[in-house]
């Protein structure tokens, strides 16, 4: 697999699209995020790695407004999401695609209906006359145009992940958040998903925040990486820098 590190370098003056400062979140006595910071630049693929239970999913849920942090600030495309009204937050969410770990396809709807669902709710962003074309285009970009009228239960895990990716893309978001995109997939399907993520990033010029345990995925796709440990960004750098680090805690991620 070739890597796509060139996109960020094509942009001479990248601006941050996501900026998280001093994020704290605890559940009772359990401190999950302990002053976490993150900056995702325009066109960048930023990989966030951390042990299970280290707060990666909590962070991403705070970022999208599904969870409220105890303190800190989260700016997405220049908007402080903690200060937005519900309607403004919903509008902002159309600029963010989210690929859930378990795909989270609506199992009572067909693939077509799954993809149409966000479009029908954001008619200001999409011309409803073109829904068929847009659905087909999104499905073609993940190589699953033939599955348009199938139910999610009729698809394999890899196909479900692709459809979920197509759904995340349907409103042409500027940012895509991937929550463990290759977890639970066999190595071949995982590679296919990684290639797909790269081609989508090239085609749609998105910025991506990828949460993963998969070192191969991180190696191939990342421009930059953050290692999350004890609720803080323990180490930051490129894959090469971190994988050659002498710090045993950093090394543990790459073994």
């Amino acid at each position: 697999m070739n890597n796509t590190k060139e996109h960020i370098s094509q942009n001479p003056d990248p601006r941050p699209v996501i900026e998280i400062k001093d994020l704290y979140k605890s559940f009772g006595n359990l401190k999950v995020l302990n002053g976490f910071n993150l900056k995702l630049m325009e066109g960048e693929n930023l990989v966030l790695m951390g042990k299970s239970g280290s707060g990666k999913s909590v962070m991403i849920k705070c970022l999208i407004g599904l969870m409220e942090p105890d303190s800190g600030s989260i700016e997405v495309l220049g908007n402080d999401i903690l200060k937005l009204k519900q309607q403004e937050l919903d509008e902002l969410r159309t600029e963010i695609g989210f690929l859930f770990q378990g795909s989270a396809l609506y199992d009572s709807m067909t693939v077509r209906e799954n993809l149409e669902f966000p479009m029908r709710r954001h008619t200001n962003k999409v011309d409803l006359k073109n829904t068929d074309e847009l659905v087909l285009e999104a499905l073609e970009s993940v190589g699953l145009a033939s599955a348009i009228d199938l139910m999610p239960a009729e698809l394999s895990g890899g196909m479900q992940r692709r459809v979920a990716l197509a759904r995340a893309l349907i409103l042409k978001p500027k940012i895509i958040l991937y929550d463990e995109p290759t977890t639970g997939l066999d190595p071949i399907t995982a590679k296919e998903i990684i290639l797909l993520m790269m081609s989508i990033q090239k085609k749609y010029k998105t910025s991506s925040l990828i949460i993963t345990h998969d070192v191969d995925c991180a190696r191939v796709i990342s421009n930059r990486m953050i290692l999350l440990l004890n609720g803080i960004n323990y180490a930051e750098g490129t894959f090469k820098e971190l994988s050659s680090s002498k710090d045993p805690k950093v090394q543990a991620f790459f073994k």
């Binding site: 849920k61 509008e91 378990g102 989270a104 396809l105 609506y106 199992d107 669902f117 954001h122 409103l171």
Partner: protein, 259 residues
């Protein structure tokens, strides 16, 4: 000491739950009148809950009418009051037995279905996915389901009552040689608006309770797949209890008007 602390904990947990359900109901009333209205989803839910429950309600109502008439007949014959059968059956079924039995059947079929469906959507992150796509999942999933049960239950109860009376008329036709026409003439003579209206009004509340508890339990489901089962089970148990409480209140209020 231990017993009293358990009792206190139980009471606190009970009142906390009642408070949470009340908040949930409050949110429903806030959201039901706000735009956008999810008409398509509401119609889909009405179809799912109404049309797909017809057979179950019909069979239950028919057997209810049959059994009730068969069981009452010997006693009425003993007192020479067999002619009162249509009046007695119709008033019992329309005022009390029909609404309560059919609501309990629907709590089992519809309430548990809602609890399981929303619970499974919660644990598989489908509700989060809906929210992330800029859709209000409460409005799309909860408001439409509660409205659908509130609107459909009265229709199901009226249908079930009619089928129950048909069952009863069949027994009278076979055993007492009473024609269907005579049976239903007596039924309509003995039923007043004061029998039908309060009984129908309370079915709206029954429907609301079924939708509310099913949605509350499913929407707030936790603990993975085990939570889905618990949500479905709890939806039926709590709804059944709530139905009896609502029935008691409804009978109490309508009794004041009778007096």
């Amino acid at each position: 000491m231990l017993k009293s602390s358990r009792f206190t904990k139980g009471m606190i947990s009970f009142f906390t739950e009642v408070g949470e359900v009340t908040k949930f109901a409050g949110r429903f009333f806030r959201e039901v009148f706000s735009l956008p209205f999810e008409f398509k989803e509401l119609l889909r839910q009405c179809y799912n809950m109404g049309n797909r429950s017809l057979l179950l309600v019909g069979v239950t109502g028919f057997i209810l009418g049959l059994v009730f008439t068969l069981q009452s007949r010997p006693t009425l014959l003993e007192f020479g009051a067999a002619a009162w059968m249509p009046s007695m059956v119709s008033i019992s079924i329309v005022r009390e037995i029909g609404p309560v039995i059919i609501a309990l059947i629907c709590a089992g079929r519809i309430g548990s279905g809602i609890g399981a469906e929303l619970g499974s959507m919660r644990v598989t992150e489908q509700i989060d996915a809906m929210e992330v796509s800029g859709t209000n999942p409460f409005k799309f999933l909860v408001v439409t389901r509660i409205l659908a049960t509130t609107l459909m239950l009265p229709i199901l109860v009226i249908f079930g009552d009619f089928i129950a009376l048909l069952g009863s008329a069949l027994v009278e036709y076979i055993k007492g040689s009473v024609s269907f026409q005579l049976y239903f003439n007596q039924v309509f003579d003995s039923l007043n608006f004061s029998d039908i209206v309060p009984a129908t009004i309370k079915t709206f509340f029954f429907g609301f309770a079924i939708g509310l508890i099913g949605c509350y339990k499913g929407y707030n489901s936790k603990k993975g797949t085990a939570g889905v089962g618990q949500a479905s089970n709890a939806a039926v148990v709590y709804t059944s209890m709530l139905l009896f409480v609502i029935d008691f209140i409804a009978v109490f209020i309508s009794d004041i008007f009778y007096e």
